[in-house]
Every structure is written in structure tokens, then in C-alpha cells.
């Protein structure tokens, strides 16, 4: 079981990283999602694995799985959702603004102040 979980985390990470390194924003967001899964499962696994031992206090329970990583991961899942949502909306907005969905921008040759001014111009 442990091996299945560890290898699943590895596969999800590998797939996530590969997609993260692609040029198009939507694919990057997909990669981010996979990487979030991998991270969450990895964190969860830090509490070690247990079957049929939910951390719900009961008179007849012999042992409980570790509740702390679970609580942390629950928060992490929700935050991952928030992050993914912002990322995908940013991808959408940049596509709508520029007409392509490449995750790259052409560097400006001006001074930082000019760059800021340029950005200000383009968003107007």
C-alpha cells in the first residue's frame, strides 16, 4: 500500500511538472492542479497510512489515524482550489487581453520606471 501511494505521488508529480513546463497557460494550470494533488497526498502521507481508523473519537475505536496532517491538508485543498482558480482566471484574462495564451511576455528594454508606465498604459 505504501509503495502504491508513494509511486502515485511520484507519477502525479512527474505529470504535473511536465505540464507545468509547457508554453500554454491552460496546460500550466492543469499541471498546477496535478502538482497540488501530489503535494496534498504527500503531506497527508506524513501522518502515515492507516485503514479503518478515522480520527473520530468513538468508544469502540482501538486507534486513530493522525488527525493533524489531515487538518492541514484539508486547508491545503481549499487553498489549492483558490490558487488554481486565480491562476486559471489570470490565464483567461491574459488571453483576452493579448489574444494568445502563451505564458511569456516580451521583456521591455526600458528602465523599470518605463516598464511600469508601459504596463499602466496597456491596461488602460
Amino acid at each position: 500500500m505504501e509503495f502504491l501511494l508513494a509511486s502515485a505521488v511520484g507519477v502525479m508529480t512527474a505529470a504535473g511538472v511536465y505540464l507545468l513546463l509547457r508554453a500554454r497557460t491552460f496546460t500550466v494550470v492543469l499541471g498546477l492542479t496535478l502538482l497540488s494533488y501530489a503535494t496534498n497526498v504527500f503531506l497527508f502521507a506524513m501522518g502515515r497510512l492507516a485503514i479503518d481508523r478515522p480520527p473520530v473519537i468513538a468508544a469502540d475505536a482501538s486507534a486513530y489515524s493522525d488527525p493533524l496532517p489531515q487538518a492541514l491538508v484539508l486547508t491545503a485543498i481549499v487553498i489549492s482550489f483558490g490558487m488554481t482558480a486565480v491562476a486559471v482566471v489570470m490565464a483567461l484574462r491574459s488571453f483576452l487581453e493579448s489574444g494568445d495564451d502563451l505564458g511569456a511576455m516580451t521583456p521591455s528594454s526600458g528602465t523599470p520606471a518605463q516598464m511600469v508606465a508601459e504596463v499602466g498604459e496597456s491596461s488602460r
Partner: protein, 948 residues
């Protein structure tokens, strides 16, 4: 304690001028004055102790592990400088009230001034060199604000930047030097460092530390070759020049050399570096000052020269020279601050401070002229004024000093500098106030109001008094300061005008005669000077800065080419490298923990998950398919959570999954449905290698952890969940109770994320994005049945049920899997399905929920629950439980965590709905369809089939 207050008072006072300016300029200046005065009086209250030779200490530990403590101490030297800073500060505050014009923002001026004052006092009273460094940098920053005070003047801005760059760079070097020093001694406390002079000077790190610290001192005190910033800083308003550039900031470097004198001075390195630099600076400053036509420029270079003089005296390394240095600091502060104020008066009243346009002001501005003559005579070193006394002492010390085996060299050069000093001082008097009256002054000159000349008059009185009665007026102070500088040596000397016919007297006489001659032949001298080269330090400085900027820009553009791919690639490669190095540097063999058996179900789920991952990678060009396949991975993850005893996670994961997929589908609606292939085999190979490396690393790490036993903190939570948190679902109790503050932060983040999404999408309704949306043509066939009857009917029936389920999950969350997060997501899904079934417009007209408000109320309710604990005297978010009987229903337990969870619930619903609803709004805008009249496309009440 009052010692700390002396430092704090200016900082506290700095809050007020900006506010008080609303009550008028006088109120503003008065507040500033009072803040300084309080600090000054507090300082004076320590005078008896200081003159008894005691050292007053105060403070507390701040970061003892780093050796950083807020310790202050007051000895003679600190007292002397703090007195200068606060005393002259008081005069400057009065002067500035009259100097600044109505258009100048006086509030910010006084705020900057007090910030600076506090920082300076902090420097001179710090007993910890790290603390001293903090104040040191603060003076650089606040003086930047002061020099650039007239923001509309380019010269002011440039001067401020140059001053900040030079003194800031020196400050950085000094940080390194101080750290080395602290390393040598093993303490960052000055009182310890000063006791360990021999240890420091014997250390092989002595020279680097010395050079670095001196770099800080020399830049701050405008020593050659860093002297060039000071004249450019003269673009500041005159009160600033008078304060910073005569009496205080430029003396900070001198102060530090004096402070460190017992620890660092006395070696050959010290002598040759410090004394030589001082001598050169003195000479160059005096020479250039003679040819400056700007009054403040003249004074600036004269200041450079005098700073060089003091530096040289400190560099000589003898106690007597150090005493002379202290005495000259005092004298220079008095006559130079007076002269700067004087130059400001001339500028203010005659409309120019260009010497070539002045002259003959004696009878027009008699008071100003008198003050100028006395102060300048002191600067020239004429008896019976205080400048004469310390200059004599200097010449006396120099005459006895051998430099590189040459006994005459320093004496000669010092005398030459003194000649120029006499010449430029006389020029200040003669070319400004004497000569014929002119008719072309920009303003008709006259004496200023008393408030403007009184401060300088006070200083001039001091100049005379110290000159006439040195032993009475300044003697005790100089003695106590000199003792502090030299580390307690008691010297046999007395301050006096007449020491008999000494070599120093001869040198002084030569200086006076030659100086007067130089001025009489000024045209000739100037012509000679004109013919020579004039290296312009500013051009060199700007070339250096320009070069740095260009290099930095090329470097940045080389590394940051704007490609997200490259950044992420570099980051992942770096992490991989870290992981690999950690792998080889520590044991990584699998542990011996007893493993769980792999059941067939688990293997099947694993196969599905791995297959889905592979399929996503292979098919990521087809975005819709890839998205759905990612959903499969999420599903498998939630199944895994169920299986591995984490029901809460499973519920959360599966509901988040639904929301995420809906959200991405809505976004994908606009985005291209197909990803074009990227060119380049090498790139795929490289990314593939990185990905496999990362996967292997993370997988191996997980494996290594899972096969080992571990200790956990969770025993406490499991024990305390029911008695302490009032719930049996430990995960939920941790979330809303034990670690409620984390959760509170998290819902805030979620709310902020939703607001960011709202802003991003709302902004898309304007500009280029809006035009693109308006011209958008759906790239996929639309369903003929846009609002299918089955879906509409089913969702309508489901809504109350789903809400009920959500409510149930919420209520039970404290004891069995569930809670605010999950309930919120369930309710959000139930609501969003209504949008999907009947269209955004139709649903939005019927569900008038304010999602912004929900987020706000949610955060507020959670916060109020936390604050409620404060009211009854417990820490933030302490939970409590109530038990009561309700008729018919029975005993009810309510934990206050329930209210907190309500906040969580509201934020989750609000945030999710805000994001999704705004995405759908965008879609409706794009297709510009009218809001459908009914909930579905077909109206079942009209039976059309019969007619057909």
C-alpha cells in the same frame, strides 16, 4: 529608562508635525520644538552623572541569540554629541520656521527632521553596534528625505540620490566591518568591544574590519575620495545643510572613529589610513573652497576640510590629538552652523548666494554681517575666538608628528591647508559684506526677523565665550569627552589662548599672512586655478552609476526573458539539485515500518490514477479531454482519502473537484480548445527529464517517510478533542478550535482570492479584453437545447435537498465528518447547478445573493467569535461550550466553534460563487443572448405535440 526616552522622543515627536500643520505653521514648529526640547532636557538631567564620570546605561534584550540588544549608554562622548544634535536641532527648528516659505510643506519637513534627529541620537547613545548600524542606516534614509525635500528641484533629487548612494554603500561596508568586529570580540556590545582593544588589534581580521568600518566613517563624513557628495547635498534647504552638513550627520563618521578609538586606534594602519586621509581631505577641501562662488558651496568644501582636520587628529592616535579633535568638533559645530544659517539669511534676504552677485552688504544687513564676521573669523582661526584655540592645538600636534620618516611633511601640508582656510574665510567676509554697495541685488537686502538671526547669534556668542574663557566654558566638557574617547586616560593640559611662542603660533601667523595675501591677489590666484584641470566628481559618479545600471539591465534581461517556462524550469532544476545533494548527504534507505497490504481495490485505483496521469500528459493538446482526465485523478485521490481513514479530506476533495472542473470548463469556454505542438525535441526531452527527476525524488521521499515510524503531536489533539473542543471529529475540532487561527487566515486568503478573480474578470469588461469578448465567436457547436428540461426540473427538485444536505453536513461537522468547508462547497455546487440549468441571467434575477457581502460577513463572524474570547479574558479564538435544555428537543450542546464554522461556511460559499458567477457573467456578455423568459427552453405547459 529616561535614556531610552531620549532616543524615542524625536521618533514619537515625528508623528506630530504632519498632523499639527493643520493647526498652522506656528503650532507645527512648536510641537517639533517641544519634542526636541523634552529630549534635550532629559539629556541634561543626566549631566551631573556624566560630569562625575559615570556611565548611564539602560535598555533590554531584543534578540539575544543574535547579540542584538536594545542597549543604550551615556558617557561623555555620547553626552557631547547628543547635546550637539539636540541643542543645535532646537536652533534649527526655530530657524526653519522662518526660513521655509508658505509653499513648502512644513509638516513633512519637521517630521523628516525629527526622524533624522532620533536616528542621530540613536547612533551616539547605542551600546550595541548592531543597533548602532540600524540607526546609522536610518540617518542615511532620513537625510535622503531631507536633502531631496524640494522635490521639484532636479539638483535636490540628484544630490539626495548621490548622498544616499555614497553613504549607503559605506554603511553596507560598515555592517560587514562591525560583524567582523563582533566576531573577533564575541560580543556586539560596545562597552565590551572597547575593553578589548588589544585582542582586536592582535587579530588577523583587524585590518579588514578596520578598512570596512572606516569606509562607513569616511563616506558619512565626506572624506576624500568620497567627499563629492557633500557639496551636491547643498541643494537641500539651508536649515538642512546647517543641521546635517555642519553639526550632525557628517560628524557621525567622526563620532564613530572617536567611539572606536580605544579599540581601533594606535596602530600603524590606523595612523596611515586615517591621518593621511584626513590630511588630504583637509587640504583639498580648503583649496577648492576658495574658488567656490556659491556661499553654501564654499561652506560645504570648508566643512569637508574641517572634517578632514578632525579625522587627521583622530588618526594621529595620541590622547592629546584626540582631545584636540573633540574640542574642534565642538568649535566647528558652533561656527559652521552659524555660518550656514548666515548663508541662508543672505540667500533669503538678498535673493542670491552667488558671491559674484553680492558685496557691500555690511550697511544693508549690519546684524547679519556682524555675525558672519565673527563666525568666519573663528573659522579662519583668528584669536580670540574658539576656532583659533583648536587650530593651534591641531598645529601643535601635527608639528610633532613624523609621517613616513619625514618630520616636516604633515606640518607643512597642514600649514598650507590653514592658509587656504584663512583665505576662504576672509573671502566670505570681504566679498559678501565689504566693497561697494550694488544696485542689482535680486531682492533689496535687509536684516531678517529676529527668529532667523537669533539662533545663529546664540552660536556666535558661544564662539566668543569659548574663545575667551575656554577652560571655564568648555574645559570640563572637553575633559570628560576626551576621557571617554581615550578610554579613561587623564591628561595634563589646559585650554588657553596663550601658550607662549610655539611652532604652532608661527604656523598660525604664516597662515594668516599667506591667507590674506591669497585673497588680495584673488584674481591672479583664480586665474592660475582656472588654468588647471578640474576633475568633476559628479560626472565620474554618474558614469559609474550608469555603468552599473546598464550591467544590471543586461543581466536582468539575460536571465528574465519573460518566459514562464524558463523561470519554472530553472526553479524546478534548482530544487532537484538541492534534493539530489540532500539524497547523497544523508541516509535514504527505506525504513523498517510494518507496511499495509495492497488490496486489489487499491491496485485498481492506482492503475486508474497512473493511467489518467499518463493520459493527461500524452493528450494534453486536447484540452477538454485533459481536463476531464485530471478530474479522474482528483476522484482517485478522494477515493484514496476515504480508504486511508480520512473521510473529511475525501469529502472536501470531491466537492472541490466538482467546483474546480466547472470553473475550468467555464474558462475553457473562451480559451482555445487545442494546444498547438511545441517545436523542438530537445525541449521535450529536457522537460521530460526534469519531470521524471522530480517525480522520482518526491516519490522516493514519500516512500522513505512512509516506511519509517514517526512520533506525532496528535496524541494531545485526540485526547483533548472532546473535553477541550467539544467535538468528536478531531480534524474539524483542530480546524475550528485548536488551530482556528490558521483557518481564520485561510478563509481570509480564500476571500481575497475570490475578490482577485472578481477584479480580474470585472476588468475584462473594459478595454482590449472587452473588444475581444464582443467579437467572440463560439468555436464549438452550441447545444440546440440550451436549458434542457430534464436538468432544469432535476436541479429545481434537488435544490432544497442539496441545501438540506449542506445544512446537515455543517451541523454534524463537529462530531462526524463534515463541517463548514464541505457544507459551503456543497451549497455552492447546489447553487451553481441552478445557473447551469437555466442560464446565468435567469438564475441571477432570482437569486439576489450578495457574494461580496457573504465573504465579508463570513470573515467578520469568524473574527467576532475569536474576539468574543477576549471579552471574557481568554486568548483570541478560545472556544467555549454551552449546554441547555430545550423543551421537546432535549439537551443541546453548542460550541462557540460553531459560530466560527459559520463564518467559514459563508466565506466558502461566497468565494466559490463569486468566482463562478463572474465567469458565467463573462460568458453571457460574450454571447450577448437575452435573458431567457422561462427556466428552460421548452415550456411544458404549452402542449405543442397535440397541435402537430
Amino acid at each position: 529608562m529616561s535614556l531610552v526616552l531620549i532616543v524615542l522622543l524625536p521618533f514619537i515627536g515625528a508623528l506630530f508635525p504632519a498632523l499639527m500643520i493643520r493647526a498652522g505653521r506656528n503650532a507645527c514648529a512648536t510641537t517639533t520644538f517641544i519634542a526636541s526640547l523634552l529630549a534635550f532636557v532629559l539629556l541634561l538631567s543626566h549631566a551631573p552623572a556624566v560630569f562625575r564620570g559615570e556611565v548611564v546605561q539602560a535598555g533590554w534584550d531584543w534578540l539575544p541569540a543574535l547579540g542584538l540588544n536594545i542597549n543604550f549608554f551615556l558617557d561623555g562622548l555620547g553626552f557631547f554629541f547628543a547635546g550637539l544634535i539636540l541643542g543645535i536641532g532646537l536652533l534649527i527648528i526655530v530657524y526653519a520656521r522662518f526660513y521655509l516659505s508658505k509653499d513648502d510643506p512644513m509638516g513633512s519637513f519637521y517630521t523628516y527632521l525629527l526622524l533624522f534627529q532620533g536616528a542621530m541620537v540613536g547612533i551616539v547613545l547605542s551600546d550595541n553596534i548592531l543597533l548602532l548600524l540600524i540607526f546609522w542606516e536610518l540617518t542615511s534614509l532620513s537625510s535622503f528625505l531631507l536633502i531631496g525635500y524640494w522635490k521639484h528641484l532636479p539638483a535636490g533629487r540628484q544630490g539626495a540620490r548621490m548622498a544616499l548612494t555614497v553613504t549607503g554603500a559605506g554603511g553596507l561596508a560598515m555592517i560587514a566591518g562591525m560583524l567582523i568586529l563582533g566576531e573577533i570580540v564575541g560580543s556586539y556590545d560596545l562597552s565590551v568591544i572597547l575593553q578589548n582593544g588589544e585582542l582586536i588589534q592582535a587579530s588577523p581580521l583587524y585590518l579588514p574590519a578596520l578598512v570596512l568600518i572606516l569606509a562607513g566613517c569616511f563616506t558619512k563624513s565626506a572624506q576624500f575620495p568620497f567627499h563629492f557628495w557633500l557639496p551636491h547635498a547643498m541643494a537641500a534647504p539651508t536649515p538642512v545643510s546647517a543641521y546635517l552638513h555642519s553639526a550632525t550627520m557628517v560628524k557621525a563618521g567622526l563620532f564613530l572613529m572617536a567611539r572606536m578609538w580605544p579599540a581601533l586606534a594606535g596602530t600603524d594602519a590606523w595612523f596611515y589610513i586615517v591621518a593621511t586621509t584626513g590630511l588630504i581631505t583637509m587640504l583639498i577641501g580648503a583649496f577648492i573652497a576658495l574658488f567656490k562662488d556659491d556661499l553654501k558651496g564654499l561652506l560645504a568644501f570648508s566643512t569637508v576640510s574641517h572634517l578632514g582636520l578632525v579625522t587627521m587628529l583622530l588618526g594621529l592616535g595620541t590622547p592629546m590629538a584626540a582631545t584636540a579633535a573633540v574640542f574642534h568638533i565642538l568649535n566647528h559645530a558652533t561656527f559652521k552652523a552659524a555660518l550656514f544659517m548666515n548663508a541662508g539669511i543672505v540667500d533669503h534676504e538678498a535673493g542670491t548666494r552667488d558671491i559674484k552677485r553680492l558685496g557691500g552688504l555690511l550697511h544693508l544687513m549690519p546684524v547679519t554681517a556682524t555675525l558672519a564676521m565673527v563666525a568666519a573669523a573663528s573659522m579662519a582661526g583668528f584669536p580670540p575666538l574658539n576656532g583659533f584655540l583648536s587650530k593651534e592645538m591641531m598645529l601643535h600636534e601635527v608639528a610633532d608628528t613624523t609621517w613616513g620618516g619625514q618630520g616636516w611633511l604633515m606640518g607643512l601640508l597642514a600649514t598650507i591647508a590653514a592658509c587656504f582656510s584663512v583665505a576662504y574665510s576672509l573671502r566670505y567676509i570681504v566679498h559678501v559684506f565689504f566693497g561697494p554697495q550694488r544696485t542689482d541685488y535680486p531682492h533689496p537686502p535687509h536684516d531678517p526677523p529676529a527668529g532667523m538671526w537669533l539662533p545663529s547669534a546664540l552660536l556666535v556668542v558661544l564662539v566668543v565665550l569659548i574663545g575667551l574663557f575656554p577652560d571655564t566654558v568648555a574645559g570640563p566638557l572637553v575633559a570628560v569627552v576626551a576621557r571617554a574617547v581615550t578610554g579613561g586616560e587623564v591628561l595634563d593640559y589646559h585650554l588657553a589662548m596663550w601658550h607662549g611662542f610655539t611652532p604652532a603660533l608661527g604656523m598660525s601667523a604664516i597662515a594668516v599672512v599667506v591667507g590674506a595675501l591669497l585673497l588680495m591677489r584673488y584674481r591672479t590666484v583664480r586665474a592660475v586655478w582656472q588654468a588647471g584641470p578640474h576633475p568633476e566628481a559628479k560626472a565620474g559618479f554618474e558614469a559609474v552609476i550608469g555603468g552599473l545600471v546598464t550591467t544590471a539591465r543586461e543581466l536582468i534581461h539575460g536571465m528574465h526573458n519573460g518566459s514562464l517556462q524558463r523561470y519554472l524550469g530553472v526553479m524546478i532544476a534548482a530544487m532537484l539539485a538541492l534534493g539530489v545533494s540532500a539524497y547523497f548527504s544523508s541516509p535514504s534507505a527505506p525504513g523498517s515500518r510494518e507496511l499495509l497490504p495492497a488490496t486489489p481495490v487499491a491496485v485498481a485505483a492506482w492503475l486508474l490514477l497512473v493511467g489518467a496521469c499518463v493520459s493527461v500528459v500524452l493528450q494534453h493538446h486536447q484540452r477538454l479531454q485533459a481536463l476531464l482526465t485530471v478530474g479522474v485523478v482528483g476522484l482517485m485521490v478522494s477515493i484514496g482519502f476515504v480508504y486511508l481513514s480520512a473521510p473529511d479530506l475525501a469529502l472536501t476533495q470531491i466537492s472541490v473537484e466538482v467546483v474546480t472542473v466547472i470553473l475550468m470548463l467555464l474558462a475553457l469556454n473562451f480559451l482555445p480548445k487545442h494546444t498547438p505542438a511545441e517545436p523542438g525535441r530537445g525541449r521535450h526531452l529536457r522537460d521530460g527529464l526534469l519531470a521524471v527527476g522530480a517525480g522520482l525524488g518526491v516519490g522516493a521521499a514519500a516512500w522513505a517517510v512512509l516506511t519509517r515510524d514517526a512520533e506525532t503531536l496528535s496524541g494531545y489533539y485526540l485526547e483533548q478533542s472532546v473535553p477541550g473542543g467539544g467535538g468528536t471529529n478531531v480534524v474539524n475540532v483542530i480546524l475550528v478550535d485548536f488551530r482556528g487561527f490558521d483557518t481564520f487566515g485561510e478563509i481570509v486568503v480564500l476571500g481575497v482570492a475570490a475578490l482577485a478573480i472578481f477584479a480580474l474578470l470585472d476588468g475584462a469588461l473594459h478595454g482590449a479584453a472587452a473588444r475581444r469578448i464582443a467579437g467572440w465567436v463560439p468555436d464549438q457547436p452550441r447545444a440546440a437545447d440550451r436549458h434542457p428540461m430534464m436538468l432544469a426540473v432535476a436541479t429545481r427538485v434537488m435544490l432544497p435537498l442539496a441545501l438540506m444536505v449542506g445544512f446537515y453536513i455543517f451541523l454534524r461537522g463537529h462530531n462526524v465528518p463534515g463541517g463548514g468547508f464541505i457544507a459551503g462547497l456543497v451549497v455552492a455546487i447546489a447553487l451553481i447547478v441552478q445557473y447551469m440549468a437555466s442560464g446565468f441571467g435567469w438564475a441571477a434575477q432570482r437569486m439576489k445573493l450578495d457574494y461580496h457581502g457573504m465573504i465579508g460577513w463570513g470573515v467578520l463572524i469568524a473574527a467576532m467569535t475569536g474576539l468574543g474570547a477576549w471579552v471574557v479574558g481568554h486568548p483570541f479564538l478560545t472556544s467555549t461550550m454551552w449546554h441547555f435544555e430545550l423543551p421537546l428537543i432535549g439537551e443541546i450542546h453548542v460550541a462557540s466553534a460553531m459560530f466560527f464554522d459559520t463564518g467559514v461556511f459563508l466565506v466558502v460559499v461566497g468565494a466559490t460563487m463569486l468566482a463562478l458567477a463572474n465567469l458565467s457573467r463573462l460568458g453571457r456578455r460574450a454571447e450577448s443572448l437575452p435573458v431567457n423568459a422561462g427556466p428552460m427552453d421548452v415550456d411544458p405547459s404549452l402542449d405543442r405535440t397535440v397541435e402537430n
